[in-house]
């Protein structure tokens, strides 16, 4: 699909079919992430974790429920989560490097007609629970910042028009 159409089409999908995305789709998402703008070329300071394991999801949902009291899965029971982590200490740079990787994956997912959403709230609960965090098996010194939930859509994709204020000098 044309880049400009994909940028317009991307929107947050929060309901997924049970079926997991295929290997080829997953590999394109990861390839897109690797092409993101990462400050200082710190690609070795970024880490991706693909989670497709039901037991891990169940544990996450349990921990989230305990922490927030919310019954609903904060990752929308997506069959694939791609968690983005970093060992960049400075939050200002860490957040931006994660953001560009995330956006590249969202655009790639949209191009592949997959549903996706950028999420981070659920990680707050996971980070608080040592055992849940261990399930991510992150390299020493890395912390999760955000994730992409992705799968086959089980709700209509309705792109919205957003406005950000601009001034010209």
């Amino acid at each position: 699909m044309e880049t400009r159409d994909v940028i317009k089409k991307r929107n947050s999908i929060r309901k997924f079919k049970d079926e997991t995305i295929n290997k080829d789709e997953l590999s394109k998402l990861l390839e897109a992430a690797e092409c993101a703008s990462v400050g200082h070329g710190y690609y070795d300071k970024m880490h991706l974790t693909v989670v497709q394991n039901k037991e891990v999801f169940d544990k996450f949902n349990e921990v989230i429920k305990e922490d927030t009291g919310k019954e609903n899965s904060l990752f929308y029971n997506a069959p694939t989560l791609i968690v983005m982590s970093t060992n960049i200490e400075e939050d200002l740079l860490a957040g931006q490097c994660v953001g560009t990787m995330g956006e590249n994956m969202l655009l790639m997912a949209t191009d592949l007609n997959l549903g996706c959403v950028y999420i981070d709230t659920f990680l707050e609960s996971i980070k608080k629970d040592e055992n849940a965090l261990k399930l991510l098996d992150l390299p020493e010194g890395f912390r999760p910042i955000a994730a992409i939930a992705v799968g086959y859509m089980d709700m209509p994709s309705v792109p919205k028009n957003h406005k950000i204020e601009v001034n010209y000098i």
Binding site: T100, T110, D111, Y118
Partner: protein, 164 residues
């Protein structure tokens, strides 16, 4: 251009021709930025400043001896207001990535810049001229313009763990 092609072709361009981009292209780049995902839909916590005034650009360029925006004829600053959730950085990055991909798609060169932001934040005069609304802080900048070279995309590797 196909999405994956634009994603793969995007490179940091560090040299620009002395020729301004068209208003139509600028508008397309800005619109792409506006379509980025913003946490909790708070698009009103984001702001974009387009700088094309030569004197002002020179003033910014003179903040240090180093090339901080590679004399790009257009500098786009993305600012954000942190609502307490710390999403300002990720939100800005999504706006930035959309703009740099849109620029690549249009055949323009672009570069994601951080150093210039630190210098602007440290300079009260320049910060004042940005005329940002209360609470907004510059987060990142995009240099954009025409370039005369072909740039070879680089292959980057990010380590992946699979939990199946």
């Amino acid at each position: 251009m196909e999405t994956l092609e634009a994603i793969k072709k995007r490179v940091s361009v560090r040299g620009y021709l002395d020729k301004q981009i068209t208003d139509a292209d600028l508008d397309k780049v800005l619109k792409a930025g506006m379509q980025a995902p913003i946490g909790r839909g708070k698009y009103y916590d984001m702001h974009i400043t387009v700088i094309q005034n030569k004197d002002f650009l020179e003033k910014i360029d003179n903040l240090t001896d180093r090339l901080i925006f590679y004399k790009a004829p257009t500098l786009i600053i993305v600012s954000a207001r942190d609502d307490g959730h710390g999403l300002d950085k990720e939100n800005s990055a999504c706006v930035m990535e959309n703009m740099t991909l849109a620029a690549t798609d249009l055949g323009l060169g672009s570069i994601y810049l951080n150093l210039v932001i630190g210098l602007i934040k440290d300079n009260k005069d320049i910060l004042k001229e940005l005329n940002l609304e209360e609470g907004f802080v510059p987060v990142a900048a995009l240099g954009i313009g025409y370039t005369d070279g072909e740039f070879e995309p680089k292959d980057h590797i990010i380590e992946v763990t699979y939990i199946k």
